[in-house]
Symmetry: C3
Subunit: 353 residues, 3 copies
């Protein structure tokens, strides 16, 4: 852990594009923490206005926040327009990224002699690397990982423990995959035959682009033919499941327990919130946002914001939700109308008779 003056942190944030201004005393800090848990000597942040009342109670020495929130006198402030981005950089500066154990190329790893391993490998005991595998430079592979026949892994990748890469799949550069995730297992491909299921060999592959990060216990099918893709810069949470032949565009964000069925085309920078999903054989445009637990069941235009199952325009879905909650009341009003109309009918009939 590094120690740093607030003025120096301010200077480095500004240098990296997060124009920051120090307000209050210049103090030495050595870490970042939450508003709740921070202690003296730590800097904290306020990005979500919902937590602004916690600023008054924080024990942090400084807080990174926007201009429009007050801070108590005892706390220094680093004012900037993007506190979330700034605190991210502050964490990198003060804590750095995770340091992995250093195994070199462990003698207890099981590496086929036909495999080509780049320079500066960091491959643990208990790793199995099959025939004709190619691995780039500076890769860290934790115990229990399996890399199948003919798979290709780029440079600067990290596979956490027990990750499985099936045969002939490909990972780009700087790919990170968390523990227990599986890339390239067979898709659910069967032809129905008289009430039985005939296995369709899954001869395609799965291809993961540069800078992709995948959470724990995910499963990304290989394609039946051709390939399944997760394109550059996309980030997955835990237990994300991608069906065979689906293409996920670049810079998407899929939160946890998300599923996309097979043969779907997901555009770039699409967000699927927690528990959301999409059925197969559909096209979802760029910059689409799908709310938590919502399921997309048809093609979606770019930039749409969707909610519900089947997912529809979020504003409309919210109106429907409110309407549903008031439905018992509306049914009462319809019943009342029926009585009223019946009474009018009787009155009119008796008047005209």
């Amino acid at each position: 852990m590094t120690q740093l003056l607030l003025s120096e942190l301010c200077r480095r944030l500004t240098y990296s594009g997060f124009a920051a201004r120090l307000e209050g005393e210049d103090r030495a800090i050595q870490g970042v923490n939450t508003l709740e848990d921070a202690r003296e000597g730590e800097v904290t942040f306020l990005a979500n206005p919902k937590y602004s009342s916690a600023v008054d109670k924080t024990k942090a020495s400084a807080v990174i926040l926007r201009n429009d929130f007050p801070v108590p006198k005892r706390v220094s402030a680093l004012r900037c327009d993007d506190p979330y981005g700034a605190v991210t950089l502050a964490i990198v500066i003060l804590h750095g990224h995770r340091r992995h154990p250093q195994w070199g190329l462990s003698e207890r790893a099981s590496i086929d002699e036909s495999a080509r391993i780049g320079t500066n490998p960091n491959i643990a005991g208990g790793v199995s690397i099959a025939a004709d595998v190619t691995i780039g430079d500076n890769c860290t592979i934790y115990p229990g990982c399996y890399v199948g026949d003919g798979a290709r892994i780029g440079s600067d990748c990290t596979l956490f423990p027990n990750v499985v890469i099936y045969d002939h799949c490909e990972l780009g550069d700087r790919v990170t995959i968390h523990a227990g995730s599986v890339i390239g297992e067979d898709g659910l491909g069967y032809a129905p035959q008289g009430g039985k299921w005939m296995k369709i060999p899954q001869v395609g592959r799965a291809i993961i682009g540069d800078d992709v990060e995948i959470g724990a216990n995910c499963a990304i099918d290989r394609a039946t033919l051709g390939y399944t893709a997760v394109e550059a810069g996309t980030k997955f949470g835990n237990v994300v499941v991608i069906g065979h032949g689906t293409k996920v565009g670049p810079d998407c964000m899929f939160v946890g327990l998300v599923g996309v069925a097979g043969s779907a085309n997901i555009g770039k920078h699409v967000t699927l919130a927690a528990g959301a999903g999409a059925v197969g054989h559909i096209t979802v445009g760029d910059d689409v946002q799908v709310g938590a637990t919502s399921c997309v069941m048809g093609n979606v235009e770019p930039k749409a914001t969707l909610l519900g199952t089947p997912a529809t325009d979020a504003m409309q879905a919210k109106r429907s939700l409110i309407a549903i909650q008031k439905l018992p009341e509306w049914i009462q009003r319809v019943r009342q109308l029926e009585k009223e109309v019946q009474s009018l009918r009787e009155q009119l009939d008796s008047a005209s008779s």
Copy 2:
């Protein structure tokens, strides 16, 4: 990869029951690919009419499809009634099934001396096989798998990397389990006692039938007492979770992210689409189909097609869905009716006064 004349492929498809007819030039082909990715020398297929326009643009040398779709002159056609079944067979003929690495009985596997292993084993280093385990002939077990005390595995099974079979569980013949799946972990069995949870020992087992295939990162509980069953021929996608004591009948198809709670009885040839589920202690009849993300919350008659949560008859559920989307409009119409009736009431009252 094999090379084959279209006329020979046609003959072999017909021989296997997919009566096919060659239209156009007889060409040599050496692989199957998608309409989009196929190149010269490859055969492709059209099963889903949705993609018929892609036939005009394909670079494939031939396409397997039904009689009623035209093909460009430069492309040969293999006409048959079941293109999906036929292409499945074509993939088997031209690509074959996956070939596993060959380890024999690796010296680096950890196998208890009391375990009985059948002939022709293919068991990798890094596999652990506990006491009193029985494994049939021709089984392939990838690195990182664990087979617990007294478990029984039939012949011709494949366990991909990091599969865990808990003690005393049973697999039939020709069972395939993909990476990271777990068979026979304890179910969530606790007796409530004064706000705490008292563990109920899970002394039952999990039994997996012949020809079952299970996707990646699934979890199938052992039973508290008796057994949990997945019967012959059933196929699971990824992250399918089955509760303790549940019986899943033969030839079912459960897609990804599917869950069935404990003590349920699921019939034969039941389909649960992606994200679907069923609560515990219910009976679902044969040939039931449950739509994506729908949850079955009561007993279901055979052959029903269900949708929604709680899952109801699909036609009715669709009508309700459409009605919900139009709900704000209907509420407007009720409001309008109320005004109208109020005005009628006033008019009538003034007329009769």
Copy 3:
């Protein structure tokens, strides 16, 4: 397996607080089984009245049940007020808890020399324990587990195969984690920057309390800063996913395929049924119960019972559900009303003209 007279079982149940009364012949029993699968010499139980008809057909020698259910003459009865609690104890008495293989401290485990291991270790080959790890007494760690740098594990813990504990995470005493679960992977923390995602180093930890049991293939994020917590006595089923910084209180029960997003505060003794979830940044009070597949999307008062998505009061949600199913009928009634009012209007207008 133990053999026991029913009278002795009755005495031991009563001694432990499940006041029981033997009705019928005193027989020797040697196991517990389900109503359906039990054979002579076994005791079964009836806790769920739904299965009372199965009592007539059981082949068990005895059944544990309440006073108000009849049993056939050939079956002895153990009458008590809490058959579920009593049968739990009967299973413990007659079957005991699982006995693990005994490895001692396997020479084939990979244990960093800086790690401190308590007395009576039971650590299998194929386990990796990194630098500065502390492990308490009497811990069982199955093959394929990984315990990262600086992690701390209490006494009497069990890690089933392929469990991964990331660096610096903590487990209390008597924690059980089933196969394939991952504790402390990075949360989905990225700052948006010009359409790209900038990684926020996840420098917090995950802390698991005493007596927690976690099912198979779960994933519990570490916090960005501070810690993610699962407090003492809480039980998770399979594939439970907990987001970064979330605090789950003591004695909760989360069934399978459950997800809670990040920065949520879940109280004590909260139940999330199968497939349920909660969004992030919310507070859920003590003793809340959330029904299957429901998603909590806002703060919840203690003791609430919720259903639906977004989860609302269960009674209200059920009324809305019934209303939705009858919606097409109500729309017909509104259409009918419109005609009726139109006809009244015409009649009234013609009368007044």
